[in-house]
């Protein structure tokens, strides 16, 4: 059956071992994790895991049920097809020869990024946005020579008002 990509927001007990229960579930049952990000919420005992996963509709149904079955999982929300805001951040260390420096600054500017570290022959660019935007920046910076990348993975929250566009 056709594979789909889904965005899950999972509230869990903020306890040691919980993340390992989740990743263990995915590895043990052969499910996919495309990206994952975890941090405490306003309630210190609760963490939010934002996860992008993909699979057939049957597998996605199982992922949702299996996550809910874990004792430390409080709530699983599948944000796919709902209204939400989504962001990812990337740090990109790129070669910055003199003749390229202006171009890098321009690209960073267009994408409303920031230069967060400068060296004699490199810049570190910070960009925030959805994963497509980050890919676009990466593509444009590629010819300069990218040395290292760090990406946060997606984080997302549902929107409160329904008047914005629905995300795919």
């Amino acid at each position: 059956m056709e594979e789909q990509r889904h965005l899950l927001s999972i509230l869990v007990d903020n306890e040691p071992g919980v993340l390992s229960r989740i990743t263990g579930l995915f590895s043990g049952r052969g499910y996919n994790i495309d990206s994952l990000s975890v941090a405490e919420t306003v309630e210190p005992h609760v963490s939010r895991i934002t996860m992008v996963t993909h699979g057939s509709p049957g597998i996605l149904e199982q992922i949702n049920k299996q996550l809910n079955k874990l004792i430390n999982v409080i709530k699983v929300t599948d944000l796919t097809g709902t209204h939400y805001v989504l962001r990812e951040m990337a740090l990109i260390k790129v070669n910055a020869k003199t003749e390229h420096r202006a171009e890098i600054l321009r690209i960073t500017d267009i994408f409303r990024g920031q230069i967060v570290d400068v060296g004699t022959d490199h810049f570190t660019v910070k960009v925030t946005g959805d994963p497509e935007k980050i890919s676009a920046v990466l593509n444009l910076l590629k010819p300069m020579g990218i040395r290292e990348i760090a990406r946060t993975g997606c984080i997302a929250l549902p929107r409160e008002n329904g008047n914005s566009n629905k995300n795919a």
Binding site: G17, E61, Q62, K65, Q66, K69, I71, I74
Partner: protein, 561 residues
């Protein structure tokens, strides 16, 4: 009241109504064993920690209560893993307490340290590492609650030595309230009504009953339901006993070694009502051709079981017993007059399958293993608690002993652990002291936990072991015969101990039968003898279990005798 961790543990076990503990001591649990001296718990000192878990499993199944194990850290803990995984796959409620090195040493590769919580994460319903003695009482309470509620399962509690020695004020914790855990017992009545509507329309309905029916003790409700609606019933291996194996509506077991009529009925049915089953591959064979003409209804307390392996038209999340009792109420509201007439054609067809292709074997000069079980069934009047090892012995037990109640057939279904039967029989015997408990064993499997015979002798537990001694790892040999051109790679035992002498060495009784004419005599004598008995039945070496559906084939493609 100020108490030490070890004493709090004892108090909480009393709170939970525990009477028996299966365990094995060691350095990390010395303090717990010391506290045990001041209690009335029956502690059964097994001879291997794997035996402790299987015994707790057998105890839980025979009693319907939570089984309890206590073992030391490191090797004590790792030895429990097979037993835990088996209980997990069969949804058996047990709580396992493991010792652990003191908290300040955790992570240091200390002597006898293993991360048992990490190791058992994928094979427990939940597990805990207790890090503060103040949490101990609550965690023990939660562990028992989780083990027995919802879809039952094993729960492990890891107890560092310093926690067990620390002191705190003890108060019995209040009722467990976990915001993340709330099983659905009561099903949605509209979904149930859909089932009733389907039953009213169906021409060829079948009920498929599984371990969930036994776990929720829904046998009476199921029997009433099936009889009132005149629907024939088949079962998974774990489902045996959920419906009387002697009833006219009983089809026998389904699947790889299921009866011809059960597999044919599933293949031809137009409505399949699965209750407490997960449609595992040993049952479905090739899923595309499983119940190809049927609307499938599935009732299970665990949402992950529903629609995992086969597509389902009417999913129902709920407890099997509650669901069936509500279905019975709904059934009473519809007009069932003439139902017998309506089902006649279907039930006649099933009778025809039963008559033309019954479960069968050929008698000969050597003892047929099936004959041993038939005779055992006859002599015990179907009243014994039967445990099994794994392999052909297990399948023949399932085919030729007929079960009428939950808790009478105790087998490692999901994991298929050789060495399960003897310790499980010991646990069942502890739970049901007055009953006849028989382990139907293979000559291979029995050697995996034979040491537990010493446990049975020590505690005067009169378990009977019937070894179907075929000189082979028979089930593997059978596959080699059928699918590997009889290339018997490492399945023939070139040496086997003398089981009669072995029994005697352990202080038990040993008996042997080598001819068909001796079977009844030996069984009779074995059952009548006080104390543990090993009966060594030297059986036909190359007998195979039939019918057989080759792995991955549609279940209607059965190899027959």
């Amino acid at each position: 009241m100020k108490l030490k961790g070890a004493q709090i543990l004892m108090k909480m076990l009393q709170e939970e109504g525990v009477d028996a503990i299966f365990g094995y001591p060691g350095g990390a649990v010395l303090d717990i064993y010391d506290a045990l001296m001041d209690t009335d718990f029956k502690h059964i000192l097994v001879r291997h920690e794997q035996g402790a878990v299987h015994a707790a499993d057998g105890y839980a199944r025979a009693s319907g209560r939570v089984g309890v194990c206590l073992v030391t850290s490191g090797p004590g803990a790792t030895n429990t893993v097979t037993g835990i995984a088996s209980a997990y796959l069969d949804s058996i409620p047990i709580v396992i307490f493991t010792g652990q090195v003191p908290t300040h040493l955790i992570g240091n590769d200390a002597f006898q340290e293993v991360d048992i919580v990490g190791i058992t994460r994928p094979c427990t319903k939940h597990n805990y590492l207790v890090k503060d003695v103040k949490d101990l009482a609550r965690i023990v309470k939660e562990a028992f609650h989780l083990a027995r509620s919802g879809r039952p399962g094993p729960v492990l509690v890891d107890l560092p030595k310093d926690i067990i020695n620390a002191t705190t004020t003890f108060k019995v914790p209040g009722e467990v309230r976990m915001r993340t855990y709330n099983p659905t017992y009561k099903p949605n009545i509209r979904q149930l009504q859909k089932i009733i509507d389907l039953i009213a329309k169906a021409k060829k309905p079948v009920i498929f009953s599984g371990g969930g029916v036994n776990l929720s003790k829904a046998h009476e409700e199921l029997t009433k339901f099936a009889r009132n609606a005149q629907i024939p019933v088949t079962g998974s291996l774990m489902g045996l006993g959920g419906f009387p194996g002697t009833d006219n509506l009983w089809l026998g077991m389904l699947g790889m070694h299921g009866t011809f009529r059960a597999n044919m009925a599933i293949t031809e049915c137009d409505l399949l009502i699965g209750i407490g089953v997960r449609f595992d591959d040993r049952v479905t064979g090739k899923t595309d051709e499983f119940a190809p003409n049927a609307k499938i209804v599935q009732i299970d307390i665990d949402p992950t079981s529903i629609q995992k392996n086969v597509p389902v038209s009417v999913p129902v999340v709920g407890d099997c017993r509650i669901s069936l009792s509500m279905l019975n109420d709904l059934l009473e509201k519809i007009d069932l007059s003439g139902i017998e007439e309506k089902r006649k054609q279907w039930l006649d067809q099933i009778t025809e399958w039963k008559n033309t292709t019954p479960l069968a074997y050929k008698q000969g000069d050597t003892i047929k293993p099936q004959y041993v079980i038939e005779t055992l069934y006859e002599l015990t009047g179907g009243e014994a608690i039967i445990t099994t090892e794994v392999g052909q012995n297990q399948m023949w037990a399932a085919q030729y002993y007929h079960f009428t109640e939950p808790g009478h057939f105790i087998t490692s279904g999901g994991l298929g652990v050789m060495g399960f039967g003897l310790p499980a029989a010991i646990g069942a015997q502890v739970a049901a002291p007055g009953r006849t408990v028989v382990d139907i064993a293979g000559d291979g499997s029995i050697q995996m936990n034979i040491q537990e015979l010493a446990t049975a002798v020590q505690y005067g537990l009169p378990v009977k072991v019937a070894i179907l001694n075929n000189g082979f790892l028979g089930m593997v040999r059978q596959w080699q015969e059928l699918f590997y051109q009889r290339r018997y790679s490492s399945t023939k035992f070139e040496h086997t101990p003398d089981f009669v002498k072995l029994a005697e060495a352990y202080g038990a009784t040993g008996l042997r039968a080598t001819k068909p004419s001796e079977v009844k005599k030996v069984l009779k004598k074995g059952l009548e003898t006080k104390g543990p008995v090993i009966m060594d039945f030297v059986v036909e070496q190359e007998e195979s279990v039939y019918p057989m559906v080759p792995a991955g084939a549609p279940i209607k493609k059965m190899l027959l005798v």
